[in-house]
């Protein structure tokens, strides 16, 4: 009896802990949504369930080129994903399926590149971007983002490609298929889920990037979403338009959360393939 009570108590404690974790994880975002619905001076009243008012949402799109910023982020992130997946798939086939000298060293060099602090290449990248005439233009970001999306893509796709059975390829080789045909005809169709996972993670990384976007763009029209949100300012430094900032935050976060909810299993498998399985 006492044992059963104790077990019940333990279970209640466990659920309380879980509820606390969920609250901690979700509350800041909930508070951002709540705040974004409060117009003007309502903002400064603590109210947990205000009636939704979209004034801040209108303001954020009217007072700056926020629509343009979202489009910029979409363009940059999509281009980065397509490039990384194309280059990454070919490389991953070589690294995951063909035994050659220096393979292991190469794989670990690539992993090493993904650990680069971005600031370590900042001045060199600045020079490169200027030399190519890309300063304050979106291609500068597509180019520079490859430094973190490409190693990651190669690494994760290699992990996935290694897990596929050997027989698939052997049959194709016996039939006399060329390596490129093997990649496009045998592996590509099978790697659909892996490509979605990897592409999604690369997209999120590119969508969220800040340091390069802050440094290589100058005008409001060329900014990506994180830079636009970081640089939203009011009449003075002491009067930040918090309503606008929260509205902008909610606008760019909701699509990401929807994506994460739809693909959560895939994301978890992709993240762990990238890190744990060394």
């Amino acid at each position: 009896m006492s044992r059963r009570t104790r077990r019940r108590l333990g279970r209640v404690g466990f659920y309380l802990l879980m509820a606390l974790i969920v609250l901690y994880a979700v509350f800041p975002f909930y508070w951002a949504i709540v705040s974004s619905f409060k117009p003007g001076s309502e903002m400064f009243r603590i109210d947990f369930f205000p009636p939704p008012n979209l004034a801040n949402y209108y303001a954020v799109f009217a007072e700056q080129p926020f629509g343009r910023n979202i489009l910029n982020s979409l363009i940059v992130a999509s281009a980065v994903v397509v490039l990384s997946l194309a280059l990454g798939l070919l490389a991953a086939f070589a690294l995951g399926r063909i035994r050659f000298r220096g393979r292991s060293l190469l794989l670990f060099t690539i992993l090493g590149v993904s650990m680069f602090p971005q600031v370590a290449v900042l001045s060199g990248m600045f020079e490169l971007v200027r030399a190519l005439g890309l300063y304050n233009r979106l291609p500068s970001l597509v180019l520079s983002y490859l430094i973190f999306t490409l190693p990651f893509t190669v690494w994760v796709l290699t992990t996935f490609i290694r897990a596929l059975p050997k027989e698939l390829e052997e049959a194709a080789i016996v039939d006399g298929a060329k390596p490129f045909t093997i990649v496009t005809r045998v592996f590509l169709p099978l790697l659909g889920p892996a490509l979605i996972t990897t592409g999604l993670l690369a997209f999120i990384a590119a969508w969220n990037e800040f340091l390069f976007a802050l440094t290589f763009t100058l005008s409001g029209e060329q900014r990506t979403v994180p830079v636009a949100i970081a640089l939203i300012s009011g009449a003075s430094a002491y009067e930040l338009p918090w309503g606008n900032i929260m509205a902008a935050s909610v606008v760019v976060t909701v699509p990401l959360i929807v994506l994460v909810l739809i693909f959560q299993r895939r994301i978890v498998s992709g993240l762990t393939a990238g890190a744990v399985k060394g």
Partner: protein, 303 residues
């Protein structure tokens, strides 16, 4: 007869391998190796942002000056303090969440979904959300603390040098603990079940099972996850930039380097700072890669 055929096949495949690797290697050389090499070169020059081509070699002058700059040392200290404290908190909290997620109870899916939300939110956005919650006059956190009677008047979390670094840690813990939890959960799920069954048969207390079975078995995955996070924490930029700007009290090495480089246009000096940060992280990376390599060696030996 089979010999030459196989070796020809191997040759063709090796050639194909390098052909397939070429585009990726060229891209990485262009966006990683070249800019890194240039940055290291700039560290030994007096390059200026307005005319980077006119850089003159100055030897170790930038490094000499850097090592005597108290602001630099402050940023080094801030970065290390931030990285060690936040990663420690994230590890303990992440492990707790991972253990909870590993129990087969209803509501597990909800918990996993909830912890993924902070991970998906851009760092800039989470920093802004917390900046608003931590606002000295209108912030909900101060309001709650006053309501609970813990403080009498609002704390200027991000403006006060003593609390600002803790505000940054708070944001980072909130954002990256889920990632830690998921990595550790993957590690937990790969543990062999036999040990647990044996412990259950012997009637070992769950707490003891954790310390004597789970933790030692989980150690390799835990170490890799910790170093992975540590590398990430050492390059922190976004959250600090948004929460406290170019404030010396909380500046990290990345923020310091970028300020020199872009705001003060001193490319040579900024590059010297970047190079030192790079070396610090390279050291940690070497440790990580050694561990990962040992891990993958073990994985390949498994039948």
């Amino acid at each position: 007869m089979a010999g030459p055929t196989i070796s020809r096949l191997t040759r063709t495949r090796t050639r194909a391998a390098w052909l397939f690797l070429a585009p990726m290697l060229v891209a990485l050389a262009l966006v990683a190796a070249w800019p890194l090499g240039r940055t290291v070169w700039f560290a030994f020059t007096d390059a200026n942002l307005s005319d980077m081509g006119a850089a003159g070699f100055v030897g170790l002058a930038n490094f000499e000056y850097l090592l005597t700059d108290p602001d630099w040392w402050r940023s080094v200290w801030n970065t290390l303090f931030f990285a060690l404290v936040s990663v420690s908190i994230e590890t303990v909290l992440g492990l707790a969440i991972a253990l909870a997620l590993n129990v087969h109870l209803p509501g597990r899916g909800l918990l996993r979904t909830a912890v993924l939300i902070p991970w998906a939110i851009p760092t800039i956005v989470s920093a802004q959300m917390w900046a608003w919650m931590l606002n000295d006059v209108y912030g909900v956190l101060n309001e709650l603390l006053i309501l609970l009677g813990i403080i009498d008047q609002g704390i200027a979390w991000t403006a006060n040098p003593d609390t600002a670094i803790w505000a940054v840690i708070m944001v980072d813990v909130w954002k990256t603990t889920p990632f830690m939890a998921l990595l550790l959960l993957a590690g937990l799920q790969m543990l062999p079940t036999e040990c647990y069954e044996a412990a259950k048969v012997d009637g070992v207390h769950p707490v003891e099972v954790f310390w004597k079975v789970t933790l030692p078995l989980l150690m390799p995955a835990l170490l890799v996850a910790v170093i992975f996070r540590l590398l990430d924490a050492l390059r922190i930029f976004d959250a600090i930039y948004v929460l406290t700007g170019n404030n010396q009290a909380t500046m990290s090495m990345s923020v310091y380097a970028r300020q020199q480089l872009v705001d003060f246009q001193d490319v040579g000096f900024g590059s010297a700072a970047s190079t030192l940060l790079f070396l610090t992280i390279a050291l940690f990376t070497a440790v990580y890669l050694t561990l990962a390599r040992i891990g993958s060696g073990q994985a390949e030996e498994r039948p």
